[in-house]
Subunit: 139 residues, 2 copies
DNA sequence: ATATTGGTTACACTATGTGTAACAGATTTA
DNA sequence: TAAATCTGTTACACATAGTGTAACCAATAT
């Protein structure tokens, strides 16, 4: 899944958990509500479990439960939980040995630039809490 | 090609043109210098031609020539020239008709967020000129 | 025991990216 | 005029990555 799609799917699921009875919700139920398939959703939610954002219980009455409060959970935390690689992955051409030295330096320049952008994006996401999103959705 | 790779390739080519004799440079020569293949490079450079950033002449003595001065050419202009889709494309899940209405609104939220990020990135690129890059490379 | 659920792996299918080649049109050179 | 060279464009095979689905095990409640 693309990083952004994964993020929006995760937030939709978290939104569903935040707005539903505080009882474990199954992956099937969540998936139906947010319009995705349960198997893929479990893959994403299991990452949220590992990062302590949601809790999961198994068995007949099992499911997923929101642990973090919406006012304390921001997008960057969600993003980091579900994505191992850097946000909005960017790459540059590799340079073979025969290339000009400046070209090699150019790669460094772009990697730095993309890192800067990465930081900007993460800072932006750090200021957006699940609670903010819920409030905005309800307008 | 990914957006970022395309951008770095284009800038490398422009750097080469800026630092070489003001005579048309062939795609083969540029490609060898910056470590890519000529055919793919022509595809990118032709977009720069259409946007008036470089000029191309055909025939035996033909090649590519830098039109815009490095101090007046910024990254955003280069990016817009070579990329039709939005920078660093982001997507969200589509919602089928049976989904909750809030989920539909959530898509709007993320599209807005990603647009904001897009604007931030472009503003950042607007402040980086080819001349800046050249100077930084030479350090 | 049985049923249900999360967690994980596997897999076929699709889409996208990538490098390369080929060719037409334009232009210079001889 | 003929040949050589270059851009611009298209096509294509190949590799890589994304996607949806299914299947299975471990855990847990009834």
């Amino acid at each position: 899944m693309s990083a952004s799609k994964k993020l929006s799917t995760a937030v939709k699921a978290l939104y569903f958990l935040a707005e539903t009875d505080p009882a474990p919700q199954s992956s099937v139920k969540i998936a139906e509500a947010i319009g995705t398939n349960a198997s893929k959703l479990r893959q994403t939610l299991s990452l949220l479990v590992k990062n302590g954002i949601v809790k999961s219980t198994q068995g007949t009455t099992g499911g997923f439960l929101l642990v973090k409060k919406p006012e304390h959970l921001h997008l960057q935390e969600i993003y980091c939980a579900i994505e191992d690689r850097k946000a909005f992955y960017l790459d540059v051409n590799e340079v073979n040995g025969s290339g000009m030295e400046p070209v090699r330096k150019m790669n460094g320049f772009f990697l730095d630039l993309f890192s800067d952008i990465q930081v900007d994006i993460e800072n932006k996401m750090r200021n957006i809490y699940l609670k903010n999103i819920i409030e905005q959705i309800k307008l």
